[in-house]
Each structure stands twice: as C-alpha cells, then as structure tokens.
Amino acid sequence: MRPFVYERPTSVSAAIAMASGPDAVRVPPTGADTQFIAGGTNLADYMKLGVTRPERLLDLNTLAEPALRQIRIDDDTIRFGALVRMGEAADNNDVRRRCPLLADSLKFAASGQLRNMASLGGNVLQRTRCEYFREISWPCNKREPGSGCAAMEGSNRQHAVLGTSDACIATYHGDFAQALVALDATVDIEGSRGRRKLAFAKLHRRPGETPDIETDLAADELITAIEVPLAPWSSRSRYLKIRDRESYAFALASAAVALDMDGETVRSARIALGGVATVPWRAREAEDALQGKVLDEATAQEAAEAAFADARPREHNAFKIPLGKRTLVRALLETRNMKG
C-alpha cells in the first residue's frame, strides 16, 4: 500500500478546502491524490489491493456538523445525513414503516459488521467488484484508461447486461442506490465552487468511452445528505435480491419496486434493477408498460420484457436476462400484494 498522510478535518468546509487544488477538477475523485474516507470498507480494501493509491486521506468521521449523522423524517421527505451508517438507517423503524424498500435495500446489503461501518454517502459511491478491476495485473479501462477490458472475453458471469459499453461491462453492485434511483432521490453536494442539489439518477455515469469517470462529482466535492421524497408509492415498496447464496453476497439480479395502485390498476410504478447494470438502473420502459394497466402476471411479464429489451449479454452472463426478468415479475407481484 502506498504510504499516506492522514488528517482530521473538523468541518465540511475545512474538508473541502483541504481537498481542493488544481487536481480536484482535472482528475476524477477516484484517482485523486487526496481522498475522503468515512467507513473505509470499500476504500481500505482497494488501497490494500493497490487499485486506489491516495497519498492523503481526510477522515470525515471528525466532521462536527450534527446533521451529517441524523435521519430526519417529516411528512414528505426522509433526509439521511451522509455519515449515517447503513445499519442505523436499516434499523430505523420509521424508515421501514414509511418506505420498506429503503430499509430492505440496506438490510440485505453487506453484513452486520460492514453495515455498522459503512456510511450512506460512501455506500452510494462504492466501486465495482469486477474481478478484473480488483486485480491490478489485468487490463482494465476503468482502473487504467486505455488498457483494455479483460472481462469482455474473460470470466464475465458477474457482469452487467444493461448500460454496458465496448470499454466496460463492470456491474454496479450497490443495493441502496437502486432504491434511491427508483424513488427519485436527490443528493446534496458541497464543494469549493458552492453547494448543489443533484438528482440521484444523475450522480452515476454510464461507462461509455470513459469508464474511469464514475460519477458527476469533482474530487473536492462531498455528498452531505441524501433526500428521498415520500409519495403515494413509498409505503407499498419492496426490494427483492437474488444471490448465489442466501445472504452476504452481491445481487445476481435485484428489483426495487414501488407502486401507487388504484385498486388493481397501476397509477404509477417506480422500478430499478440491480446486479444487471453498470450504474443504478431505473427501468422506465417497464414503468411505462405498467402505467394504467391491471397488474397481473401477464402485465408484469410485459414490463420485464420491456426492462431487458436492450440487454447485451456476454459469454457467461446471459442467464441474468431471464433471471432479471423473473426477479422483476416476482417483485412486482409481491409488491402488489402489500398493503398500500
């Protein structure tokens, strides 16, 4: 591991000032010499592997602002401070009551220990676990732009079928982000050029020709809060995650579903798909297919077909298309059967 300087900023503005400099706009945050650390569950792992090589870490756990550690719920929003731990949010009874999808996307992610460590801000910024990205002896356009992609013709069972490019097929593995993108969440961002609010759907970038640029953030920008609007579909919502083993594994396929129903008819559906795409994946085609329809097995199947119409499988991951469709159909029908 590259030796690094460790510092403890005491406020958001101090942390941003310490991270800003000419590099902060030139280099994507993941490649910057100065990096923020909160839970460290992803960053420490990638520093050990030599995938990420910061020479300076700024510890966000010493930031003083109380709002960073608070969950605030009112009539129409849930607001998570960026330093709230996954486990705390998953165990919050009001979060679960108001929006089971949010609570379950956290409960079924990682393990009890990791959820006690990982911050929500860091969780949404977690990087892919593509085996070729993790092991630095392989070519990887995300880790080393222009070096090629070993996954294309390699062992690509875990890889994405949606949102891929000729440069990268790495899966975005997070679960919480699927709930956030389905529920029209926003993130509050603070940086040296001021504050901004960004639609969660615009936080992550599809790989395209530049898979090394993963988010819309600059290296001196911090996520300070995540806000989820509460709406008629929030309480009738569910996260279904299908894995190689029952627990503590990344999704092979998952579905985040929230439904606003008028009797048996769908007034509005919110759908996101995990384990199958390169970024948190809103399935708008599936939502449109359900709009105004009676939700039953046939219409759910039509929605699933629409969701995967543009899927591009590789040698070992074609199974994710039928698995992803079946996961979505089951999630839709189970969510329909919930009380609104």
Binding site: M1, R2, P3, F4, V5, Y6, E7, I37, G40, T41, A44, D45, M47, K48, L49, E55, R56, L57, D59, N61, G87, D91, A110, S111, G112, Q113, L114, N116, M117, E246, S247, Y248
Partner: protein, 205 residues
C-alpha cells in the same frame, strides 16, 4: 522482553510476538525523524508515524503507528493480542470482528489511526477477571459451535453484537445477521444453537 527471557523456554507464540514487537519498535529507536509528531509541527509526510491512543479491553495503549496499519494488525502485532484472527484481510470472512464502542466491526478494514480515543473490545476482554466465561463463550462450548476454531473469536464477537442489536430474535434472523462470519468447517447449526442459548441467558440477566 529481555534476552534472558528469550533464551529460556518460550512458546512459539510468545517468541513470534516478541520478534514482531521488536521489529515494530526498531524504526522508532533508529530514526527519530520518523517518530510521531505533534499536530502543529512541520507538514506531515506519508511515512511519518502517527500517535494513536486507544483503549483495548479497558486498558489504555499509546501506540506509534504507520498510517497504513489496520486496527487488526495494531491489535495483533503492536498490542500483542492475537485472539482476533486474520482470515481474508479484505472484509469478506468476519474472522477479525471486534467491538468498537460496543458495535461489531471488521478490524481488517479499519485503519488503526481512525480509532483515536475509541474503546475496543476483543475476545480476550470478554471473560471476567475470575475467569468466568462470557455467556456467548460458554454457549459456544456447550453447543460445540466450532471445529478448527479459527473463525470462533470473530463469531463470538459478532454474536455479541448481533444479540445487543436485537437481531437474534429468531433462528432465521440469526442466520441473516450472522452471515458476515464464514465458518469453513460449517459449524453453522451449532453456532445458531449457541447464539439462541446466549440470547436467552442475556435476556434473563
């Protein structure tokens, strides 16, 4: 550690611990420029050692550590408590689980320097001073909840966290919330039974 003690009948574990501590202390003695600096001194260099004060099992330790040192390595190689095990060292197996301020975490993914002022509990800190085992330790023995034993300290620490969090309500809950602790011997049914017993005893207490 003294030469006289080294030459006498030392156990392998004691010898290894002694050697490692000696190696860890040497840079401090030989290169004073790399010793821990007060915060106001010259700008920090990546290879500077940091002063880290932590409490482990209710005892204070003042350490001078390379920033790269994981909490796990600090506990094993610098504090000398080897009960906490290194399995994968990448947050995948749970063998290194400890409690920080009462919450279960993975010590392999936590840089020691980030734990300034924290209270760490390891498996060595569970039994009472008169030797009476913690209810979870006793339950693991009662139910034969291990074979090789390598994952056991992590399982026990994680089980304490799981029970304290209120996530040991049913056997299904225990399986879900203990899934971060792998056991290659597959003693899982016994581990679940042990946690059920410990949970009930803790509730009665």
């Amino acid at each position: 550690m003294s030469d006289a003690k080294m030459s006498s009948g030392l156990s392998r574990r004691m010898f290894m611990t002694a050697s490692v501590s000696a190696a860890a202390v040497m840079p401090l003695a030989n290169s004073p420029t790399r010793a821990a600096q007060p915060e106001s001194a010259k700008p920090a260099e990546p290879r500077d050692l940091s002063a880290v004060s932590i409490r482990v099992n209710k005892q204070a330790y003042n350490l001078a550590l390379d920033n790269r040192t994981s909490l796990l390595d600090a506990l094993r190689d610098h504090v000398g408590l080897t009960g906490t095990k290194k399995g994968c060292d990448h947050g995948q197996c749970g063998a290194c689980t400890v409690l920080i301020d009462g919450k279960r975490v993975l010590s392999c993914l936590s840089f020691a320097v980030m734990n300034q002022g924290r209270e760490i509990t390891t498996v060595e800190g569970l039994a009472s001073t008169d030797g009476e085992l913690h209810p979870v330790q006793q339950a693991f023995i009662d139910h034969d909840a291990f074979q090789c034993g390598y994952c056991t300290p992590g399982q026990i620490m994680s089980a304490i966290g799981c029970i304290n969090e209120g996530h040991a309500g049913s056997e299904d809950d225990i399986r879900e919330y203990m899934s971060g602790n792998l056991c290659r011997c597959a003693a899982y049914p016994n581990i679940v039974a042990a946690i059920v017993q410990a949970r009930d005893e803790t509730r009665r207490a």
